[in-house]
Amino acid sequence: MPLNPIVLTEKEIIDGCKAGKPIAQKALFLKYGPIMLTVCRRYARHQMEAEDFVQDGFIRVFKNIDKFKGESALGTWISRVMINNALKHLAKSAFKKEAIGISEHYDKDIDPGTYAKLSADDILKLIDELPAGYKIVFNLYAIEGYSHREISEQLGIGESTSRSQLLKARRMLQEKFVELQKIAV
């Protein structure tokens, strides 16, 4: 009787992937694929690119699963691989050179409840609209929890650049939330 990938435990999945068993690989994909697509969507410029990131990212995960030593949760390790893979692909786009003035953006006092009302898909769409550089720094800092030092090492930019990009990203997002609120009203 063929094994159902859904019933495998995490240890069985990891051991199976290390042994190169397709059933374990599929189980890992079924368990973490949807979350990883969300992760990749935050970095990709569009849905198709996000799917490419996921595809390439999982191939990297299966190829390098031997390097997973269990020091962190499997999901965290996979998301790191996905993010690194996405950043590698995006490195070609010169997000560092983007020059979007912040003079036109300004701080808004927004009720935190406003964010709570938004769905995850709405938030993803708003983040998608950010310029690539802002989006990457915002995702790494605000969602993944990287420090500015880690971001600067990962992207090869200065810590101050990381901070300023985050600031601009936040302001731009706030502005977009306000616009969304207006439309909703």
Binding site: T38, E51, Q55, I59, I110, I123, Y141
Partner: protein, 455 residues
């Protein structure tokens, strides 16, 4: 962390997006591709092993002669300084070497110095048989002179074991050490008169290293290998592609600058321009063509003059449209090729292989998309089907050349050559992968700047 960050993280961190149905099959095909790439690495390994074996054979062949020389030196040391002098013939008249073909070669040897105290071996007769294989010294009778005998005595004295058997071994050593010294000289001289009829490979060190330039032209056949990495795009699409695209005559031309070391191993690099030609043939049975019809009427008036009127209308004509489009893929690449030569007199065989780095790629033409619509894919054209990469990456080339030296500087060659793109020329986002296995025979000419040492 701001309140905004906290809320966004909470909402997004474990959010799951709907996965496309074909994602797993795409990953599976990607994994298979990696395995295939690993399989291709075996070809490289075989190539490297081949090169290493060739180098090993060369060193083995040379190592034997070096060992012989060391053996001779050791024996000579045991014999004493006097024994290192060349062996001289004692007869006044030069003696002919007789061969089984009754040819005689007179070798002039200096007469012995009177009252010389140096050891002299007297050669009665050396017969060289010019057999069907290599020439060999068949027989050598050496009459030992008193000086040689005294050397042998010293050998016995320095030996720690003085039993009779040991002395006999040393005698044998003495005899065998003398024979090659004669043989090497005489065979070398005889080689000019009796060249090796089989022209066996020399495996010999060239006298000098050499720099060369070469030009070539290669008619070839490029076999397209199409695969899909998406279950959405099935085998039907690939079949449609294969039915509508046909390989035509392809070619490449290039120049290389290279260097062959004294050990017959070399390296070359240059520039190669390649054109892969294909024909796209597509029949659309439901095609509609807009045809402009201009109707011109001439009206004669009663006064004898006439007027011309025209009317333009567009008529739609339906029918089967047959498209025949010449597709091409043009590329400029830099090959960096390792080579190894085996020389057979004027002829030589050269094994070569290495990576070919693409620096520029252009294309033009039409293919079918997964909805079976014909689409232009011409690079850079607006609205084109952007499925091919901007650069083709690294190809791998393997070839064997048959070479002939026309004169001291010029060598002509014919080179069966295989080239393979391990990575697809299509983008990752495209619904298919497309590789080429290119085989052809390059014809060209090579010019050695300081002359071909093997000529």
């Amino acid at each position: 962390m701001s309140e905004m960050d906290r809320i966004l993280r909470k909402k997004l961190f474990e959010h799951e997006s709907a996965m496309p149905d074909d994602m797993w099959s795409r990953i599976e095909s990607g994994l298979e591709e990696k395995k295939r790439d690993k399989g291709f690495a075996w070809l490289w390994l075989i190539g490297i092993l081949f090169m290493a074996t060739s180098v090993g054979v060369w060193f083995y062949a040379n190592g034997l002669s070096e060992g012989d020389q060391e053996f001779l030196q050791d024996t000579e040391f045991a014999l004493g300084k006097e024994a290192q002098e060349p062996v001289q013939k004692t007869q006044d008249k030069p003696q002919p070497y007789r061969t089984n073909e009754h040819q005689e070669i007179n070798i002039q040897t200096p007469p012995p110095k009177p009252n010389s105290s140096k050891p002299v071996a007297k050669i009665d007769e050396v017969v060289i048989l010019n057999s069907e294989s290599l020439g060999e010294v068949k027989k050598s009778n050496i009459v030992e002179t008193p000086a040689v005998q005294s050397s042998k005595k010293r050998v016995s004295q320095v030996s720690t074991k003085k039993d009779l058997a040991q002395t006999e071994i040393q005698k044998d050593l003495l005899m065998t050490s003398q024979i090659p010294r004669l043989s090497l000289t005489t065979i070398e001289q005889a080689a000019h008169v009796f060249p090796d009829p089989l022209k066996c490979t020399t495996f010999a060190r060239k006298r000098t290293a050499n720099i060369f330039g070469e030009v070539f032209y290669k008619p070839s056949y490029a076999h397209a290998i199409l695969r899909t990495n998406s279950s959405e795009v099935g085998q039907d699409y690939l079949d449609q592609r294969k039915e509508t695209e046909f390989s035509l005559y392809s070619w490449s031309a290039g120049v290389n600058l290279g260097w062959v070391s004294a050990y017959n191993i070399g390296l070359k690099a240059g520039l190669e321009y390649e054109v892969i030609n294909e024909r796209f043939v597509f029949e659309d049975p439901d095609a509609i063509r807009n045809q402009t019809v201009i109707t011109i009427d001439t009206v004669f008036n009663s006064d004898g003059t006439f007027q011309t009127t025209s009317d333009t209308s567009v008529v739609q004509v339906s029918g089967t449209e047959v498209q025949r489009i010449h597709n091409y893929h043009k590329s400029f690449s830099i090959p960096i090729i390792m080579l190894y030569q085996m020389n057979f007199g004027d002829f030589a065989i050269e094994f070569s292989g290495g990576p070919v780095f693409n620096i520029n790629y252009a294309n033009r033409g039409k293919i079918l998309d997964p909805t079976n619509q014909d689409r232009w894919f011409t690079k850079g054209a607006s609205g084109s089907y952007d499925v091919f990469k901007d650069r083709l990456g690294i190809s791998l080339s393997l070839s064997v050349s048959a070479m002939y030296s026309v004169n001291k500087h010029i060598q002509v060659f014919a080179r069966p050559d295989f080239k393979y793109n391990p990575t697809s020329i299509s983008r990752n986002s495209s619904p298919f992968t497309q590789r080429y296995l290119n085989s052809g025979i390059a014809i060209g000419m090579r010019y050695y700047l300081s002359g071909n040492p093997n000529f």
